[in-house]
Structure formats: structure tokens, C-alpha cells
């Protein structure tokens, strides 16, 4: 994802050994910085010295490690031979020491400038403010992360404009896209409440707010596309408020879109693994949902069952066309009974949504039940197989109290090669009671994959403390050094 920041410094890897220096800066590929700590490069890692221990960051996680104080240590036989001749490697060429140093110094200076620029824009008061063709951007993430999302949002906008035959009013300013570098900053600056992942302000020139979750870019994209769908739904008729169903279900369906860098287009029709896991969990406990209930009641199930129904309809081209006619018709079709609601927006009651749906699909009561049976069978047959899907399904299983199932799903995700540190973290938490050694191994793996997450050290400390109190306490302190805001709290009650 990050391309322009990939530099020669990463390419030369272990060859450039930077010793400790107060001015060391480490930039990770996901945009995080470490600054003001002593750091040194060792084989395969950069080590960051904290008061309570060393944190090792793998080279493949590092975008740039910038330091003025460097030295060259040849590793291979060829390097050693060339070094004996006074030659140093740089971008596939062998240079004399003075030329090599100049090149490195320039590269370090450039990187430092880039990093400092990113730091200078990391507070909302100094955010990046840029325009793309259809959006007004405000962001505190690194510039290339901003570019990444700009590209996708424009492709998304173009696709839905074409599919739905809508376009934005040129009389209004482009919609504001506010991308925050962390959830904490999002909650603080956007004013969003605790549980919100993003929000779309449907008044004025519109405003979309979300945060960049560096641990879960897929989630960030999904949330972004979900909220963006609400904007596109507004463009069907700006005086219309789409009912909860189909509004949220459509948003979930388009939330699963993916960008293809080759074609520069967005693909639709992909599975929402997490939502599918929720529907399957409901099915397991016998909580089946009828089409009628789904349409008549505004409920959370519009995100889960609602998504699965829209997915089901869109899998069949004939039904997909009818469904598009239906939701566009809800906003501006003839023969739909609309009422005025808050902010003087037009709206359609649940009973009328159901009537119109049955009308567009030419269904009577029996036909509706037949469609419902077909939908349920279809959903039952859907399977989650990707590691991401397994991760999400496991997370959902845990949330629903299925610990054994969650353990199995996490093991499958790990066996399938999951590189998601959260997978190992969740697994460690599940097994820490019965297999503390196994739990510690999994936290160590999570830390290897993402060494700057304080929670992993904090949780591992609790288990470690039982066998090695001093080590556990050291890890706790290290966790608090990594994140002074760490407010991890828990309740443990044991009775004999």
C-alpha cells in the first residue's frame, strides 16, 4: 500500500547500522512513528530501547529508519569482498565510500523531511486539506494513506454514479471526507460517541468522518464504503431519507466492495464475512428472520440478515435489477406513499416498503414465503474460508459466547497462515487458563507481528506473572510505556 515511502534505506536493510542517537526516527509501513527513543539496527530488526525493556520491530514492518549516525557492516561474501575494495552497495550499484555516504545522507535527510512533514500534519489543527475530483479531504494520516483512500473513493463514486444513474449537485461544495489517524482522535475531534466507527452527516454539503485502523485496514475500508453508500443513497433524491431497511442493508452490501489496482475499478458482490458469521450464529440458536419482520421493524438485523438478503437478491441478475428498481423507486418512483419526517425529509413507512417490495417483485404472500425459504437456504450454504473471514467469524463466535467454536476457527485461521496479530492475541486469551505456555507463545507471535501494541504485553504480563512475577511486572510497565493511555481493565473473580 505504501509505495512512495519505500526507500533505499529499507532496501539495504541490515547493511546500514545506525547506532543510538537522540534524533532517531522509525516510521512503520502503516504510518506509525517512534521518535525520541534510542534505537539500533540488529539483524532482521530495529531494537527500540524503553526504560523497561527492548521492543524489536521486524524489518518488513519498517518503512524508514532514519538516523544521521550510521555505519556499514557487510553481510554476504560478495559484500565483504567489495568492502575490501572500498565499495559500498546502493540501489544495485557499488559506490565509493564518499559517494555512498552522500547518497545515504541525502536519503536520510529526505526521509526525515517526509517524516517530519507527516508529524507536522498529525494534529487536526494542522491536518492535510486537499481536494479530489468529488470530495474535500481533511486527514491526519500520512499522505500516502490519504492518497490510497482518495483513489478508492473516487472509483467507488464513479461506479455507483454509473450503476444508479446519480451525480452530485455542483451547486454544493464537495462532500467533506474526514480521515483521522486513530480511533482516539476520531472520538475526540469528530465528537462521535464511544461505539461509533464512523458517521455520515446528512445535512448541508454532507460530511463523512471515520478513523484509520492501522491494525485492520480492511475494516476501515468496509466502514468507509458503508458510510459512502449512505451519501450515494442521498444522491438518489436529496430530500429523501432511505428507510433503515433497505438503507443499512445496501450500505453493508457496498461496504464489501474491493478496489482492483489493475483495472482501477471497484468490485461488488463480495461476502461480508463478519455479518455472515452473525447470521449463522442466529441460525444456530434458532433465531430465523422473516422478510416481513425484517422490513417492518428497524433493527440491528438490517445490517446482518438485511445484508444477506441484499446479497442474495444481487446474486441473481434478474432480481438484482428489480431490487435496484425497488430502492431507487422508493425514493422517487411513482405510486409510493411517502410522508415527511424530521428535517422535512421524505420517508416511507415499513408497511409501505413491504407493499412496494412485493409489488416490484410481483409477489403475493405465498411468493414472499417462497422467496424467504430460498434466501434462508442460500445463506445457510454460504461459507467463510478466507483467513480474514475465519478471524471475523471467530471474533463473532467469541462475542456470542461460543468459546470452543472460536478456538477451532482461530486454529484454522492460524493454520491457514493468518498474519493478523489479533488472531494470536484472541487465541492466547482463550487458552491462557488451561495452557499458559501456549498462550504466552501466541502473544509472542502477536508481538512479533505488531510489536508496538501495548495490550499484548499487558495481557501477556498477567499470565507471565503467575510463573515469573518480576518478568510479569516488567512487561506491565513496558506496556504502560508504550501506551500511557492504556486503561485496560478487567474483572477476574475466582471462588474456591
Amino acid at each position: 500500500m505504501r509505495s512512495f515511502l519505500r526507500t533505499v534505506l529499507v532496501a539495504v536493510g541490515t547493511a546500514v547500522c545506525a547506532n543510538s542517537a537522540a534524533a532517531d526516527i522509525l516510521l512503520l509501513k502503516d504510518g506509525r512513528f517512534v521518535d525520541g527513543r534510542e534505537m539500533k539496527r540488529v539483524e532482521g530488526y530495529v531494537e527500540i530501547q524503553y526504560e523497561n525493556g527492548v521492543v524489536r520491530v521486524r524489518n518488513d514492518l519498517i518503512e524508514t529508519f532514519a538516523s544521521d549516525d550510521f555505519a556499514y557492516a557487510p553481510q554476504t561474501d560478495e559484500e565483504k569482498a567489495k568492502f575490501a575494495e572500498g565499495l559500498y552497495p546502493f540501489e544495485g550499484k557499488w559506490l565509493k565510500e564518499s559517494a555512498w555516504k552522500k547518497k545515504i545522507q541525502r536519503a536520510v535527510a529526505e526521509k526525515r523531511a517526509e517524516i517530519e512533514e507527516a508529524i507536522a500534519h498529525s494534529e487536526w489543527g494542522n491536518r492535510y486539506e486537499e481536494k479530489s475530483k468529488n470530495f474535500q479531504w481533511h486527514y491526519t494520516v500520512p499522505k500516502d494513506v490519504g492518497e490510497y483512500f482518495k483513489l478508492r473513493c473516487e472509483a467507488y463514486y464513479n461506479k455507483l454514479c454509473k450503476d444508479w444513474k446519480v451525480k452530485r449537485s455542483r451547486k454544493k461544495d464537495p462532500m467533506g471526507m474526514n480521515l483521522y489517524a486513530s480511533r482516539r482522535e476520531f472520538q475526540r475531534t469528530s465528537g462521535a460517541s464511544g461505539g461509533a466507527l464512523a458517521y455520515f452527516m446528512f445535512l448541508g454539503s454532507y460530511d463523512l468522518n471515520l478513523y484509520y485502523d492501522r491494525l485492520d485496514t480492511e475494516l476501515t475500508e468496509m466502514v468507509l464504503y458503508h458510510e459512502l453508500s449512505h451519501y450515494m443513497q442521498k444522491l438518489i433524491d436529496e430530500e429523501f431519507r432511505m428507510p433503515h431497511w433497505p438503507g443499512e442493508a445496501i450500505a453493508e452490501y457496498y461496504g464489501a466492495m474491493k478496489y482492483d489496482p489493475k483495472t482501477k475499478k471497484m468490485a461488488t458482490g463480495l461476502l461480508q464475512d463478519g455479518r455472515l458469521a452473525e447470521v449463522h450464529a442466529d441460525m444456530k440458536t434458532g433465531k430465523m428472520l422473516s422478510i416481513r419482520d425484517m422490513i417492518l421493524k428497524d433493527a440491528y438485523t438490517d445490517y446482518t440478515w438485511g445484508w444477506s438478503f441484499v446479497h442474495f437478491l444481487n446474486e441473481d441478475p434478474k432480481r438484482a435489477k428489480l431490487f435496484k428498481d425497488f430502492f431507487i423507486g422508493l425514493a422517487k418512483g411513482k405510486g409510493v406513499d411517502r410522508t415527511r419526517q424530521g428535517f422535512n425529509l421524505k420517508w416511507v413507512k415499513g408497511t409501505e416498503v413491504l407493499r412496494y417490495f412485493m409489488d416490484v417483485f410481483s409477489l403475493d404472500d405465498e411468493g414472499l414465503l417462497e422467496m424467504e425459504r430460498e434466501w434462508h437456504t442460500f445463506v445457510e450454504g454460504l461459507e467463510t474460508t478466507s483467513t480474514t473471514g475465519l478471524d471475523k467469524a471467530a471474533a463473532k463466535a467469541l462475542q456470542n459466547g461460543y468459546r470452543i467454536q472460536a478456538k477451532r476457527l482461530l486454529e484454522e485461521a492460524i493454520d491457514a497462515g493468518s498474519e493478523n496479530p489479533q488472531t494470536f492475541h484472541r487465541y492466547a486469551r482463550l487458552v491462557r487458563g488451561k495452557s499458559p505456555t501456549d498462550a504466552v507463545k501466541n502473544w509472542e507471535r502477536a508481538i512479533d507481528l505488531d510489536p508496538l501494541v501495548a495490550t499484548y504485553y499487558w495481557e501477556m504480563a498477567k499470565t507471565k506473572k503467575k510463573s515469573d512475577k518480576a518478568e510479569g511486572e516488567r512487561l506491565e510497565k513496558l506496556a504502560l510505556e508504550l501506551d500511557p493511555h492504556l486503561s485496560v481493565t478487567w474483572i477476574e473473580v475466582t471462588y474456591d
Partner: protein, 569 residues
């Protein structure tokens, strides 16, 4: 002896920052320190050791009794307005100045452990994790609720000999009352950082910033007197557990101790221009509203007697701690009182401590007295029987709270005003044949009450019907019918018996249903658990219904319903 260990850690809480139960344990003891005063145009706080001149005509606002962070608060004499360009709504805002004291010692405290042993010999260790504000930005992040904010400018300067950090903070997104600005100067000293913070509308920034900065520049350190409000267990706080366990005599003693303690603290922490008085079982604290407070006091005394007379069968003999009602000068002062640092007050409120109110512009018949009645009712019920208070079904709690909201004392009597909207809605539903029968309402679970047909409107309509049904059960007319006479009391007594049984059963079920070893067993148990949760409330409702109405025939129901519908119409 049965041995057990319970280790508890708790969610983020600010200093004194303790658990829900122990929140007030580390409250500072205000009595030990001099109260802030206004002297020669200066606000002087000797406990924190500073003084400053507030903007002219701004008024001093009382601080919470257990306040450990705020050292002063002022409100502007003027209200400003902002009209939103998209919604065209006009909102009002009153500028507010706060002084927050970041005491070095408070900010270092991390955790402590308390060991207790209950009457069964079970040992309990409570680990208290402190999470004090780390600095001003952290304070703002955890307390500010006026909208999304960001630091627009931050710089350091010197004012006199003191190092000062100056902030300009903008509040733009989801900002209540319109875009705002927070101007903050932090005076740094070795022991305490003093943050002076004022929130104003962005539209008024040019006009007000000079006035505010002039006030900030008047800040001076003075000699400190008394104890700083640093944390530490004072050993004079009584927990809910202590007040609900033991013999009736022990419980009564603990509650009386708690009442005495809470009242003493509240009185001692009052600013100079506040007064207090007792009326029957209630303590009233008031600011410039003595007449209103006296009238409210007389009303609440009658109300509390009525509660005893009407619901005396609930938790018979349990001592009800006297509530404390704080009567602020106006709504803005009441709102301002609640803003600022978070502390143990949230517990204190829910445990029947202070009830915040102000003089209602609509007079004694207005919303505020109804609000006080609701809080008094909730407090009394919880003091008498917490389990029962939390188990009252939706139809009954809606009806009872609506009923008491309409109570107003006239001499030694309470008159109950009927809510016109409730009455008209219920009558309309009957006329249209859409009204739920009392039998349906009484059997409805919380979810059925909220989610059955009709959406939001349907919910309000059912609430109106529930209010009228309870009003009927409390009426003289109901007392004349053999079916409805004493029905509410019978229902409450049966509810209590059903709740006690369900609680016992629940504990046994929990132990027996967490032993799955395969995914299939786990899925089965989850299914059973989900079903049980769905059924649990339904079972409770059905159980109470059975206990209360088992001898009723359809004919009896018809007679009861006819009496109710005739009365309502």
C-alpha cells in the same frame, strides 16, 4: 471456613477514580480545608492557593461536594445565540469559566489493594486501579461533552514569574449550541498546575477573548491553607454492601451513619452564598432560591410521608436515607454544576444522594417538581428494596413514575394531576378500538412493551395506556371494586416473591450450564441459554400474573376491564 479470593479491577475512572462501590471512599474531606471566598473582587481559593478576578458580573457556581479537581467555576451573566445555517435552529450558550487544579500527587497515584472479609468468612481483595487525569488534554478528552474538539494553537509564555501554556481549542463537529472555542491558560507550579478554561461560542470569540484574557492575567498564587484534595481512603464512607447486609438493626445503623456523613459533607462544602434547610426527611441546599426551596421542602416532606403510607409494605422497616435536593438558581447553573471533572458523584446520584433541580419558570406545576418527584420515588424504592425496584415491569414502572410526577402538595395532602396527553392518547386508543387490554399490558415483557406493533408512536401510546391503568389502580374508583381494590399491593408483593425465587434459581442454573466440551454441546447450551434469556422475563411476568390473577375468571376480567374503561372514558 470457606476460602475465596475475589480480585477486582475496574473501568476507567478519574480521580478520586475508584470503583462504583468505593467511589466516594477516596473523596477529599472538604471540612478540613477553608472554603473559597470572594474577597475584594477576587475569587480566593486558599485550599489550592490561588486567586483571580472573574469577568465582571459573572457569577460563582457551586462545586460538587466530593470535588477533587475543580477549584472554581464562574458563569457569564449573558447568554449568546447561534443559528445553524443548515437546520436554521437557534441555540443558546452561556460562557463558563473553570479552574482545574492538577495536583502532582494526585496524578502519580496508580493503584492500591483493599482486603475485606464478609460474614461467611469469604475473603475479598479489591484492587483499585486509579486512572487520574494525566494532564489538561487528557482531562478535556475524558470530560468534555460539548462536541468534537481539536487544538488549534498551543504556545508557552510567561505571565509574571509563572510559566504558562496557552491553548486555543476549537469545537466544530457535532458541537452542541454551535461552533465553540475553548480558551485555556495553564499556570505551572511545582506542586499544582492550574488550568483556567473558558468555553465561548466561536461567533463571540472576538468580543469575549479580551475580557477572558484580562481575567486570566489577574491570576495570582496565594499562601495555601488546609489539606489539598489528594486521594486517600478516609474510612468514613459506607458502601451499598454494608448498608444492605447484616441484621436489620445493623443495616439501619449503617444507613443512618451514611446519611449523617453525606449531609454533613454537603453542608460543609456549600459556598458562602448558598443556604440549607431541612424539611421532614429531606435536606435542601439552595442558591438564591430560598422561597422556592422552602416550598419544595414542604412538598417533599408530604411526598415522603405519602410514599410511606402508600407503599409501606415494601421493604418494611428498612431505613430510608434522607435525600439531598440541591436547588440551583436556574437551569444553566444546574447544568454547569454537573459539568467538569468526573468523580464519584455518578454513584452518589444513583444511590439516592443529591437530586439536582432549579426553580422552574413554569412555576410549581411545571416539569421540575415532577422530575424531583420521580427521583424521590426511585430513591425511596431503592432504599426499601433494591431487587424489587429494579424488577418492576415496564408497564408498572411507566405508570408509577408518571403518576408520582403529577403529585403536588397542598397543605398536608398530595394532589395528583392527570397528564392530559396520556389521558387523551389512551381515550383515543379506546375510541379507535386500538387500546391494549389491561390483561395484555400487565403480561407484556419489556421487549413486548417497547417493540410490538406501531413503532415509536405505538410505544408512546402503550406508555399512555400504562399510565392510565396505574392511575386507575391508584384511584378511589378502583378501591370501590372488589377486583381492583388492593390489586397493586398484591401484585407488588407477588412480584417480590417471584423475584426472590427467580434469583435463587438463576444462581443454580448458572453453575450447571457452563460445562460444554464439544462444539455441539456448546451450541446446544447456547441455544438453551438464549431461549432461557428470552423466557426468563416472560416466566417472571407469567409467574407474577399467575400468583396475582389465578382465581380470576374471564368474567372477572371483563368486569375489571369494564370498570377501567368506564373510568378512563
Amino acid at each position: 471456613m470457606r476460602m475465596a479470593l475475589a480480585t477486582l479491577a475496574y473501568a476507567i475512572v478519574s480521580m478520586p477514580g475508584l470503583t462504583a462501590v468505593h467511589a466516594a471512599a477516596s473523596c477529599p474531606a472538604p471540612a478540613a480545608s477553608p472554603l473559597p471566598q470572594e474577597v475584594g473582587g477576587f475569587y480566593e481559593n486558599k485550599r489550592f492557593g490561588f486567586k483571580f478576578k472573574a469577568p465582571r458580573k459573572w457569577s460563582n457556581v457551586a462545586l460538587k461536594t466530593d470535588e477533587a479537581w475543580l477549584a472554581g467555576k464562574y458563569m457569564s451573566d449573558k447568554t449568546y445565540f447561534h443559528t445553524d445555517k443548515d437546520t436554521l435552529w437557534t441555540m443558546e450558550h452561556t460562557p463558563e469559566l473553570m479552574v482545574i487544579g492538577f495536583i502532582d500527587e494526585n496524578m502519580k497515584k496508580r493503584q492500591e489493594e483493599l482486603e475485606e472479609e464478609d460474614s461467611d468468612g469469604v475473603k475479598k481483595t479489591t484492587r483499585i486501579i486509579y486512572n487520574p487525569y494525566k494532564n489538561y488534554e487528557d482531562f478535556l478528552e475524558r470530560t468534555y461533552t460539548g462536541g468534537g474538539w481539536f487544538i488549534d494553537d498551543k504556545k508557552t509564555a510567561k505571565v509574571g514569574k509563572l510559566e504558562v501554556t496557552k491553548y486555543q481549542i476549537k469545537v466544530e463537529k457535532l458541537s452542541r449550541s454551535g461552533p465553540k472555542r475553548i480558551i485555556t491558560w495553564i499556570y505551572h507550579t511545582d506542586e499544582i498546575d492550574y488550568a483556567m478554561q473558558t468555553e465561548i461560542l466561536e461567533d463571540e470569540h472576538k468580543k469575549l477573548s479580551r475580557i477572558i484574557e484580562r481575567s486570566y492575567k489577574s491570576f495570582k498564587l496565594i499562601d495555601r491553607e488546609g489539606k489539598l484534595p489528594t486521594s486517600g481512603k478516609t474510612h468514613d464512607f459506607i458502601t451499598i454492601t454494608e448498608m444492605t447486609e447484616g441484621t436489620p438493626k445493623e443495616r439501619r445503623t449503617k444507613r443512618m451513619e451514611s446519611q449523617e456523613l453525606l449531609q454533613r459533607r454537603a453542608i460543609e462544602a456549600l459556598p458562602g452564598d448558598w443556604g440549607h434547610e431541612r424539611s421532614g426527611d429531606v435536606l435542601l441546599l439552595h442558591h438564591d432560591q430560598e422561597k422556592w426551596a422552602k416550598r419544595l421542602g414542604a412538598h417533599t416532606a408530604v411526598f415522603m410521608k405519602w410514599m410511606e403510607k402508600t407503599f409501606g409494605y415494601i421493604g418494611k422497616g428498612e431505613f430510608v436515607r434522607a435525600p439531598i435536593i440541591r436547588v440551583c438558581n436556574d437551569r444553566e447553573e444546574e447544568n454547569s454544576f454537573g459539568r467538569g471533572a468526573r468523580s464519584g458523584s455518578s454513584w452518589w446520584f444513583s444511590a439516592g444522594g443529591e437530586i439536582l433541580t432549579h426553580k422552574d419558570d413554569e412555576g410549581f406545576i411545571g416539569f421540575e417538581v415532577g422530575w424531583v418527584n420521580r427521583r424521590l420515588f426511585g430513591h425511596w424504592m431503592q432504599e426499601r428494596d433494591r431487587d424489587l425496584a429494579f424488577a418492576i415491569p415496564q408497564w408498572l414502572s411507566t405508570g408509577l413514575y408518571d403518576y408520582v410526577a403529577g403529585a403536588r402538595a397542598k397543605g398536608n395532602k398530595l394532589n395528583f394531576r392527570v397528564d392530559d396527553w396520556d389521558r387523551d392518547e389512551a381515550r383515543l386508543a379506546i375510541a379507535q378500538g386500538k387500546a391494549a387490554s389491561p390483561r395484555e399490558l400487565i403480561k407484556a415483557t419489556r421487549s413486548e412493551f417497547r417493540n410490538s406493533t406501531g413503532g415509536f408512536q405505538g410505544y408512546w401510546n402503550r406508555s399512555a395506556q400504562a399510565s392510565m391503568l396505574v392511575r386507575y389502580l391508584m384511584s378511589k374508583e378502583a378501591n370501590r371494586s372488589k377486583f381492583s381494590k388492593g390489586l397493586l399491593e398484591t401484585y407488588m408483593v407477588n412480584l417480590k416473591a417471584a423475584v426472590d425465587e427467580a434469583k435463587k434459581k438463576d444462581n443454580e442454573n448458572f453453575k450447571a450450564n457452563n460445562n460444554a466440551e464439544t462444539e455441539e454441546e456448546e451450541a446446544e447450551q447456547a441455544k438453551a441459554r438464549a431461549e432461557r434469556w428470552r423466557k426468563k422475563e416472560k416466566e417472571l411476568m407469567d409467574d407474577v400474573f399467575f400468583r396475582t390473577f389465578r382465581d380470576w375468571s374471564d368474567k372477572d376480567w371483563d368486569a375489571f376491564e369494564k370498570g377501567y374503561f368506564d373510568w378512563i372514558s
